[in-house]
Amino acid sequence: MKNTFLSVLVLLFAAPSFAEQGDTGKSPQSFFVRETVADPTLKKNESVFVFKFKINDFAVTDSIQLSDNGKAKKVKPDDAGMVTLTVKPGKHKFQFFANSFFFEVYTDSVEIKPRYRTSADVIFQSAIHEQISDKPVIYVYPETTKNISVLLDVKGTLGFSYPQYNGGWDFTADPNGTICMNGKQYDYLFWDGATTVNLSTTKLQDGFLVKKNELIPFFEDKLSAMGLSPREMNDFITYWCPRMQANESSFVHFEFNSGYESVSTMQITPKPDNLFRMYMIWGDAAGLQDVTFTPQHLEKVTRSGFTVVEWGGTELKNIPQELVFTK
């Protein structure tokens, strides 16, 4: 609960401020006080919050992790998704966490008077963002010409593949990366697909904010640091930069190796000595000028022995910026 909390402030009664911010990343309100009424049955040093937990219009009945002014506890909603919490009168800041598929909900300070009962709805917003994984390309460099099989498990729907993926790619690869399959020659394996990104667990803020005119030096620098070959860098830069140049600035986050597994996994036979996978998640940084990005650690390919390199990426569009980035 401590680390997974996204530092998102959901302003009480402040839904209009979201709406005013235009089209990009409009966040639905997640915490909504319905009523506050005096309850004479309560003791003088008691107040009560009644939370109703919802996902869309459905009541949440699974356990919820709740924190009240920093004190964490687990609560179990009833069949209607309701939890009654007796507290001391005064100011309370809450955090609610259902599971990693939903954004955590943060509240501002909520004041409650003695012998009052406040009912509030807590609405969990999905953190799973559907997108197209664009152009993952796989380069295969064995030490000697050999037969190789690659099995791909896309966490979503495989779209276009070339050479065509028919339950697997079986081919002969040369040390220079040339692939022979069904009598034809290829330089890489290509696929795309519809996949998802979990915006609550992906730390997009561990990354970079890159201005349009700095894209090329940025990628030359970072991709060299990752150990990509000139050929791989060329393909990456000429694929992404023309699109990224449409934005004044872009946010860029890289997932490496195990971080790639939420998009797809790969089974290569025989097993390569080194497998390097890199997935770039990026989007328009308009509206993120005040966000501080922490430059992330970049992993590096080891190019000894039988090496396989894959890069791919996705452009995030229409994400709830307020829920994803902390200012």
Binding site: Y162, Q185, Y186, F190, P230, N234, T238, P242, Q245
Partner: protein
């Protein structure tokens, strides 16, 4: 005037409902309007007069010759400063064609009747035949016979956008027979550029309609017929197919060599033994009436000696208004 024959555009009286359904399409304006038809006492009963008011993009077409034909008779007219010209004919039915220049669509009319002694005024609006688009990902592969210095200059008809390596009044580099390029201490496999440019709206006079499932075999066959090597063909296919797959069917036209100069001229020093350029213009076939489209001849690149190969393309969108052919 021979050009007239091949340039067919929709008639104003064809059902406009089909056009207005697409919200993205600008409001459709017919290319000509009969402004008025009035009896002129100065005319004999055996005479009738047409007054044409020509304009293009909202301005009168003045001081420009217009090629005109009525019922197959061709004539060049010179509109006055208001863009007007008068044509005296005998009463009857007339079908007109108007041609301004290659940057504007030719206009065909239905049969228009003029009564004896009447003067009919017709406003004729020439519409640009150029559709703004992005010339995407032209990549240039350079294969000299031996390692040598090469300089390439582009003359882009439009605005150059992204280039890689950076285009600075040209690319000057060292090229190797395997196609690798050394420029500014870095290694590249090709030269990349894209640009904001225009495509002629009558581009799909010839070409192919290809169903989604047939895209791969289609390109494998055609690109091999053009003489692209596996590397070039794969780069082409993996760039375009994922997007074209979104259409049930795509309409495809290739421009070769000199035909690519409409997007960008290319000057290479020293002159290569063979330069092969192919540029694909494509669109969602649902947006184009391709019934009259003829299949096109595929050109083939010669790869002997110092060879330079370029491929690029452009997706054309929102062209239903202009692209319907009879």
């Amino acid at each position: 005037m021979k050009k007239l024959v091949s340039l067919l555009i929709t008639l104003p009286f064809l059902p406009a409902a089909g056009f207005s359904r697409d919200a993205k399409t600008p409001e459709w304006v017919p290319p000509y309007t009969i402004v008025k038809s009035v009896e002129d006492p100065a005319l004999k009963k055996s005479e009738a007069v047409f007054v044409f008011q020509f304009n293009a993009s909202g301005s009168a077409v003045a001081a420009h010759a217009i090629r005109l034909s009525y019922n197959g008779t061709e004539k060049t007219v010179h509109p006055d400063l208001k863009g007007e010209t008068t044509l005296k004919l005998t009463p009857g039915n007339y079908k007109f064609q108007f041609f301004y220049n290659t940057e504007h669509l030719e206009i065909y009319t239905d049969s228009i009747a003029v009564q004896p002694g009447f003067c009919t005024t017709i406003e004729v609006r020439f519409e640009s035949s150029l559709i703004p688009t992005v010339a995407e990902k032209p990549v240039i592969y350079v294969y000299p016979e031996k390692t040598q210095q090469v300089k390439i200059n582009l003359n882009v008809k439009g605005e150059l956008q992204f280039t890689y390596p950076a285009y600075q009044n040209g690319w000057s580099f060292t090229a190797n027979p395997d196609g690798t390029i050394q420029l500014g201490g870095k290694q590249y496999d090709y030269l990349f550029w894209d640009a904001q440019t225009n495509v002629r709206s009558d581009v799909f006079q010839t070409g192919f309609v290809v169903a989604r499932d047939s895209l791969l075999p289609f390109f494998e066959t055609q690109l091999a017929a053009m003489g692209l090597n596996p590397r070039e063909a794969q780069d082409f296919i993996t760039y375009w197919c994922p997007r074209m797959m979104q259409n049930e069917k795509s309409v495809i036209h290739f421009e070769f060599n000199a035909g690519c100069d409409q997007f960008a001229g290319m000057e290479i020093t020293p002159k290569p033994d063979h330069l092969f350029r192919v540029f694909m213009v494509w669109a969602d076939a649902a947006e184009v009436n391709c019934a009259a489209m003829k299949s096109q001849r595929i050109e083939k690149g010669n790869r002997s000696g110092f060879t330079v190969v370029e491929w690029g393309g452009a997706a054309v969108e929102n062209l239903s208004r202009q692209m319907v052919t009879k």
